[in-house]
Symmetry: C3
Subunit: 361 residues, 3 copies
């Protein structure tokens, strides 16, 4: 499961309720239109292969250039220095980052997430403090001393425990659970069903039984953190489990107690980080990776899907994979070597026989 942090792949478009001209789009993104005919009307966004005359498309990777000559899209965002080799029917909007510009338009005009407004819930403790323009869905539950920042949206079925602080401009999707004392920064998104601050898995073996160790710490999500659906991030035994600024977790990710994940790190689905491990910033994890406990992983580490990290990673910028994880080249070499094992065994047999015959001479 390679990392899927960045996706350049699109399907068909949804019906949009917006109409824009190519000129207006160019203005919105600071792009340039080199030809005069720029008043084509755009009502949706699409892949080049699937667009119609009212669709906006984009070309980012030159290897898909052929699609541009064949597209039915009405307008296409292309690189700043792009020079067509053939005639193109679409209006071209030039921009230095076509994909980013395309996404900007997508998020601004075609995003289906229209959140409700207003306080619907009757399950908000009288001591809870709500900022301006907050939405609380009807079956959401806010405990004693909760505080919620401005413009934050809490969907139905979410449970927000005692003393939890949530910053401004956050979205807490349905059925998210945040246990007491946890802290969520500004601009955070938590997808449905995730659990923030459940008890860490700590038990003391006493006479062959396990006695629960109280988990009295909390979880801190800094700003711009996104947590996928059905993730579990455990509270610290003492102190804090911390996810730093800008870090993004995919779905079904497990973060154990007292873990720290550095800033601007992406972790793909079903990966698990064991207790007290510290992951450096700007790292990337594929899906289903396991990291053992009490380790330190250097910043800018890149880990392949299903890898198992069993020791500290001390140098930055390493690319690791396999279990136990090694650098990618060593892993690939090892896989290739393994495939030659049968041949090696035969050669070994041949050599044995040859030596036997030499010895008989």
């Amino acid at each position: 499961m390679g990392k899927s942090a960045v996706i350049y792949d699109f399907g068909i478009n949804l019906q949009a309720e917006t109409m824009l001209t190519a000129k207006e789009i160019a203005k919105q993104i600071g792009g340039q239109i080199l030809v005069s005919e720029s008043d084509v009307i755009i009502t949706n966004a699409a892949k080049l292969e699937e667009g119609k005359s009212d669709s906006l498309g984009f070309l980012s990777n030159p290897k898909y250039e052929q699609a541009l000559y064949e597209t039915h899209c009405g307008a296409v965002i292309v690189p700043l220095n792009f020079k067509p080799q053939h005639p193109i029917a679409a209006v071209l909007i030039h921009h230095d980052n076509p994909y980013f510009a395309f996404c900007t338009i997508l998020g601004k005009y075609f995003d289906p997430n229209k959140h409700r407004t207003g306080i619907e819930s009757k399950h908000i403790h009288e001591t809870a403090k709500l900022g301006n323009d907050v939405h609380i869905g009807s079956t959401a539950y806010l405990e004693e001393s909760v505080s919620v920042g401005n413009n934050t949206i809490i969907y139905p079925g979410a449970y927000i425990g005692r003393n939890v602080k949530i910053g401004n401009n956050c979205i807490i999707y349905p059925n998210v659970v945040i246990y007491s004392d946890c802290i969520v920064g500004n601009h955070c998104i938590i997808q449905a069903g995730s659990v923030i601050g459940g008890d860490g898995f700590g038990f003391a073996p006493v006479n062959g039984k396990y006695v629960k160790i109280p988990q009295v710490g909390n979880v801190v999500l800094e700003d711009w953190v996104e947590v996928g659906s059905n993730c579990s991030i455990d509270r610290a035994t003492m102190g804090s489990t911390v996810i730093k600024t800008g870090t993004k977790l995919d779905n079904l990710v497990q973060i154990a107690h007292n873990v720290e994940i550095g800033e601007h790190t992406v972790i793909a689905a079903q990966t698990g980080i064991s207790g007290s491990t510290k992951v450096g910033g700007y790292s990337q994890f594929g899906g289903q990776v396991g990291v053992a406990g009490h380790l330190t992983i250097a910043p800018k580490t890149s880990v392949g899907g299903q890898a198992g990290i069993t020791g500290n990673v001390t140098e930055e910028n390493q690319k690791l994979t396999g279990t136990p994880a090694t650098d990618v080249r060593t892993f690939l070499k090892s896989v290739a070597n393994n495939r030659k094992l049968s041949a090696m065994m035969q050669e070994l047999e041949t050599l044995k026989r040859e030596i036997e015959s030499i010895k008989k001479l």
Copy 2:
């Protein structure tokens, strides 16, 4: 974790509230009773080893035949051509598919899932359209423009987002979340806690930070799809993430954005399919399998537990396992070869020494 799509293993029976004679059972399943004494009364279903005089059992696999001679079950469904080698106390009901016939009776008379009826919830938007004989549990939440087909059951705590369409005869268990614009076909079952249509994991790296790419697509579950508990199926960036007719997902399965899973495929627990991958129909995945993104997997592919698929699978009917996945025979050969490595090293040492002595001659 081998696939567990079909389970031939039973424990003890639950208390049933139904009484049937063996004759009635035979009639229900179109089975034959060859002996006259067929009025034994059945009130529950059980394994041959655990049944009592009022239990219905079955024999499907001939290797368990001995249990039939020792069972206390009052009636047993056996293959059509089965001829006992010893006397049997139970009434025998002959059928060409004993296990399927047994399950039919089980589902019809002994299923503990008695769903409630009626509209209990006060959290249904006025624009939502409900079919006939729909049940909506009291804390379920239905957003604007939701439509729900006939005989569909939505349990408490479920959240159904804006514009979601759910077909006829579906069961949506408690605390399921379906985000806006997703489509659920007819006869679908979604077990508790699953999240359908959460945002795909798409971020554009801009100056060392990750900017969220709007996920404006949806999820489409076709007819007869079953989704286990606590699964995550992400909405497409644009277009649709699709699970085709008859496909069954076990628990804790991750389906990333823009994935397509073909028809009549089974995927065991904790497996993850990365973004934009297309899986052909009639495939089978064991548990904890990882599939990388942007791949095409041929129909009728069978994948062993914990395998990691890193490239396209172009031929049908392959059986793959290991990481990176190879066909099962190659994998097993490789495991066997690995176990001989120490012996090989010793042989190599021996040869070296022998050559040294030859050279000294």
Copy 3:
């Protein structure tokens, strides 16, 4: 992902609302204070490195002894026979199990989980039976014939199905779903979002399609069982899926239908046990382990993270890892051998060349 059942790692302390003297602490845990000055006031608990003059710390592992000489903690629990090599500012409280004693104080005075009291929910069926001092959160849903023991706490958003029996002194966290007929013993804790008793993954292939096999059994959690967040424990096809006394599951664990997990076993996050497998008591599983179906695993088995168990484990006390799992020594030997493969290949080439030259002589 090594097992993280016992965590000796602490972060910074939370603000506490309690004041204790060192003398009172010593009395609470049956510890001894050897020096006279023992009236230091303690208001929180901390790591030795992070404590202040009002913090309680502990020293359990002798390798951290240096931290004791440098700590600012006001009081520290130390081993019974501990003799300092240097002067220590803190008051020492001697105890034969310092960590356990520390946890006792932590759980008694500094636990942030203050549960609510009273029956808030209006979604409790009239036939449900509630014990004394039960708390039911406002959006929790209790179906027909549910019974709940004394002192048990059910948080908002939890769904408790028909006929479910929950014992005394349990905590059911928000948005947990327990399907009909399941049984939860005494002193059990189920963290948020877990699903107990969803349908097992059982389908009969009939003419290329899958027909659902009714899952008419249940789940039984015995006493002192803890289930982490977002776990899935499936009901048996018939009979019971059983988790025995004292067993603890971490987050995102999958337990398939008809599985039995023995007593006092710990299973780390994201592990999956396939259908009908029986795991012996006093076992330990690392994270992301997969166990195939229909196996028997001997008691006291210890399994490393990401291992895949594909066959029965017949001897007790084995330590297994890898896929397919072997004993840890064999696995490590195999990893080491693999790293020598390139060297072996070169040696083989050298030998071939030497033999060629010998043959030419």
